[in-house]
């Protein structure tokens, strides 16, 4: 391992035997907890019987933090995101959101997901799509179009406001999906492999745009990906999952300077470390399965 990384990593063991790897002692004071996931488990029934998707997940997300959930396909990270978004309910455990509001209402539209397939509505124009959530909240036409245009400007697609979804490229669709989520000013922004279906160049560009938007808006983001490099380039923290059943295997604090530079050797080392752990956990899974 590179010496630079060695001098800088502190391994800490806590009672649960989770290893925490920190790169630099944290330079920022720890922000308040935003989301607490406690002892969450979720199973599904399928043809083969009961499949345990998530087993005893414990995780704390802090306010304004950019957290990346990394793991192989089928390891339950998308399921966890759906639980956080309240699209499904956990079998066990609780997920507690610390609202910024005085009296948190049981309102919807506070934990918004950007899906991999953008899920934009083809019967609406771009601006109507972005304003959709606002319309559900009962906001007047003029006001919601204004707000929608503000966020379309943020993702640099204001010119395409009157276009229909099929006229957009994949990258543009994801930017519209991002605007649609952000315009609602949600407590949490959840992203489920949003760039997975895009080509590498678009992925990188959108990643950088996302980072910039995050810095401007200060949103708490939970970003799911199976791409370690992407996670390291974007996240304050990377949480590594392994699957069947899905469990948290390792967490990594990344207090690396932003904006993240691809050539930064520290990043490269981190990518190697996490990738090796990723492979290690996946292999042990395969070995277990083969038995």
């Amino acid at each position: 391992m590179a010496k630079s990384l060695q001098t800088v990593m502190n391994l800490q063991m806590d009672e649960r035997d989770h290893k925490r790897v920190t790169a630099f002692p944290s330079l920022r004071p720890k922000a308040a907890p935003k989301l607490e996931i406690k002892n969450v488990s979720k199973s599904f029934t399928s043809g083969e019987g009961r499949i345990c998707a998530l087993s005893d997940i414990n995780l704390t997300i802090h306010d304004g933090e950019f957290t990346c959930l990394v793991g192989p396909s089928g390891c339950g990270k998308s399921t966890l995101l759906h639980l956080i978004a309240e699209l499904e309910t956990a079998d066990q455990g609780e997920i507690k959101l610390h609202s910024r509001k005085e009296e948190p209402t049981k309102e919807r539209g506070e934990r918004l997901i950007v899906f991999q397939e953008s899920a934009l509505f083809p019967w609406l124009t771009v601006v109507e799509n972005v304003a959709f959530g606002l319309k559900l909240k009962g906001i007047e036409y003029k006001e919601r179009v204004e707000m929608a245009m503000e966020y379309l400007n943020l993702v640099r697609l204001a010119k395409f406001a009157q276009c229909f979804i099929h006229e957009l490229s994949g990258g543009m669709k994801q930017r519209v999906a991002l605007a649609r989520a952000l315009v609602m000013n949600p407590e949490l922004l959840l992203m489920d492999e949003p760039f997975a279906a895009l080509d590498i160049q678009t992925r990188e560009n959108l990643g950088r745009e996302l980072e910039e938007i995050w810095r401007k808006t200060g949103k708490t983001i939970i970003f799911v990906t199976h791409n370690v490099e992407e996670a390291v380039n974007l996240g304050d923290r990377v949480v590594l999952f392994s699957g069947r059943p899905g469990t948290v295997r390792q967490e990594y604090q990344l207090a690396v300077d932003r904006p993240r530079q691809k050539e930064n050797p520290l990043l490269k080392d981190l990518i190697n470390v996490i990738s090796n752990d990723f492979k290690r956990f996946s292999e042990s899974l395969i070995n277990e399965a083969i038995g």
Binding site: R108, W123, H166
Partner: protein, 252 residues
Amino acid sequence: MRSIAKKGGFYLLLISIWYILAHSGLWPDYMLPAPETVFSHLAVGFGSGRYLLAIAVSVRRILIGYLISLGLGIPLGLLTGRIKWLDDTLGSLLLGLQALPSIAWLPLSLLWFGLSEKAILFVVVMGALLSIALATNGGVKNVSPLYVRAGKNLGAKGRTLFAQIILPAALPSIVIGLKQGWSFAWRSLMAGELLFINLGLGHLLMMGRELNDMAQVIAVMFILITIGLVFDRFLFSRLERAVRRRWGFDQG
């Protein structure tokens, strides 16, 4: 402009061939009337108002029947599409009845309603109703769960979810059903008018045959084609184009 010239040229050629064949003496008059005879029939028929009356009668019947089918079919489709036990019961009945050619309803209809307008209306309604209901049903059932998830995540639920997400998402399928229903309704109408019912274009068609007046038969066929094209151009093609404008070509 060029495509109009091409089309015009093509049809002119067809008429010329027809003219030649008709005057060639290969077939007697009552099998292949000459084009000019047919045109003169059209002129006389329209001049006397006979054809206009027949058109009015037929179009009125199909419009009333089709609107009834819409009023019944779309709600039926929506309900069976959304409510599982309704789909399993009523929906299966609709599927079964669809296999029945709508003209098969005519004997039953005559028995129930006698030789009346109601009888022909019933047959027209049965022609369109099932297509519309089943297409609506399919459209609602096949709404991508991704749209539903996204809608719920943004805060839609219950009736709002249905009206703002499921209904618009089902629209392309519904439009296809509307077009198919119209086509079936029209066929049922013609069959009914041909066989039993007075007035209307089908009746004119049948009269032409009974009087051995082939020119009338072909004249009425022309009218039928024209009506079909008019409705398609000013109604259904417009609808399809509107759907395509929004959805693009992938209307899954």
